[in-house]
Symmetry: none
Subunit: 243 residues, 2 copies
């Protein structure tokens, strides 16, 4: 069973139904699908549907429980997202540490990831249900993440750790060094022709141009354009000569 399919997002006592919808959308974009709501203040609710956008199916399949114990009863691992480290607490991990440990472990079975109320978080008793805590790093003095934003970050880290190859990214394939040398030879010849480069000069200019075009790392198509431009300069000079 894949990592993502073993994750259950548990929202405890959510106050604003819009946040439930936004959390569902955050989950679905990252390939998570199991949502459990513990004593939500308003659910189902059209405001949840509106913010779920394309993830309304997650809301329709969401399980609603009266207590956290009920929500995690069949889970073999329970983690709670928390803003504050508690003085009596389970080990605290960053999201990245936590998902890496999870992905690397031999653990099977259902994993609950529990999020508390918008204002007041989880009670101490609820936190005690978790074997581990996940604290999202924050910067500066303002540390209050929106509930769905916290779900989004954890879901994103879970997706990355799940190894699911995410996007078919277009590949950039630079030409090889033989092609690059041909280009530099051509470029140098044109620069001598336009008198921008004096052959008696030190080689500083070509070194600088090598650094610049080396950084650009043209692909075959781009190299054709660059070589075409150089040839067009020669052609234009010939035309002027013949006028």
């Amino acid at each position: 069973m894949s990592l993502l399919s073993r994750i259950r997002v548990v929202l405890v006592g959510t106050q604003h139904p819009g946040n439930i919808g936004s959390a569902a959308r955050a989950m679905k974009t990252m390939g998570l699908s199991a949502l459990v709501l513990v004593a939500p203040e308003a659910f189902p609710d059209p405001r949840a549907d509106a913010l779920a956008v394309g993830a309304v199916d997650l809301l329709q399949r969401a399980r609603v429980c009266a207590t956290l114990d009920e929500a995690v009863a069949d889970c073999t691992r329970v983690a709670a997202a928390t803003a504050r480290p508690r003085h009596i607490s389970a080990p605290v991990y960053t999201p990245r540490e936590w998902v890496q440990r999870l992905a690397a472990s031999e653990h099977a079975g259902q994993v609950a990831l529990v999020f508390g109320r918008e204002r007041t978080g989880l009670t101490n008793q609820e936190v005690d249900r978790a074997q581990e805590l996940v604290a999202i790093p924050t910067g500066g003095e303002y540390t209050s993440l929106n509930l769905a934003a916290a779900v989004q970050i954890l879901a994103y880290e879970l997706l990355l750790a799940s190894g699911a190859s995410p996007l078919e990214l277009p590949v950039h394939e630079p030409v090889d060094q033989v092609e690059m040398e041909r280009f530099y030879t051509h470029l140098e010849a044109i620069l001598v022709r336009t008198q921008f480069l004096d052959r008696t000069n030190p080689r500083l200019l070509m070194r600088r141009l090598r650094k610049l075009y080396g950084r650009a790392a043209p692909d075959a198509n781009e190299m054709n354009i660059l070589r075409g431009i150089l040839t067009s300069v020669t052609d234009a000079l010939e035309r002027e000569r013949k006028r």
Copy 2:
């Protein structure tokens, strides 16, 4: 200057003011503070303030511009968050790859991270202003992240990467976008002159050259060389004419 303080989040044509507020909150929780809005549909707006919660100060200091060009004029690096890989495109990175490259690079100066409209994203012309694209991985068939959720993920990755900034590296300071636009105008004029570029042609060629030179990110010295080369072509053509 720290990595986070050099990042400017640019929201283009945002339709729902609530998303501007949520994006500001996402930024502030991760230590980002510079927000620029390009032609927002409604701003300022009480719905933005309501969702910003403790980040209203970012909204108050937000700069509003008429165009993307104006928003990134003084930036030395422009990245666009995009859902779809384009068939002609700048290099595409995952958020993690992008922030790691950014943190490890010698690059200094302002970095713009551009987000498009909720429904329609960025136009091709706007995407062309970016030297690099950042695509957030998604799982499954539903790939439509909320705007503020996308900002949250990028801001989170930036915060994590900001811890490790190798300051002892020599600094590469690319010229800003105003200089780049001057170069493209000059280059296009020369290519018309050498007849490599037919003005009646589609703009495909210039778009490709923008990608190539955008990736190279020339510094002031390199830009002088490039502009000097272009001028030398004009001079050589004049000389041939007068022979």
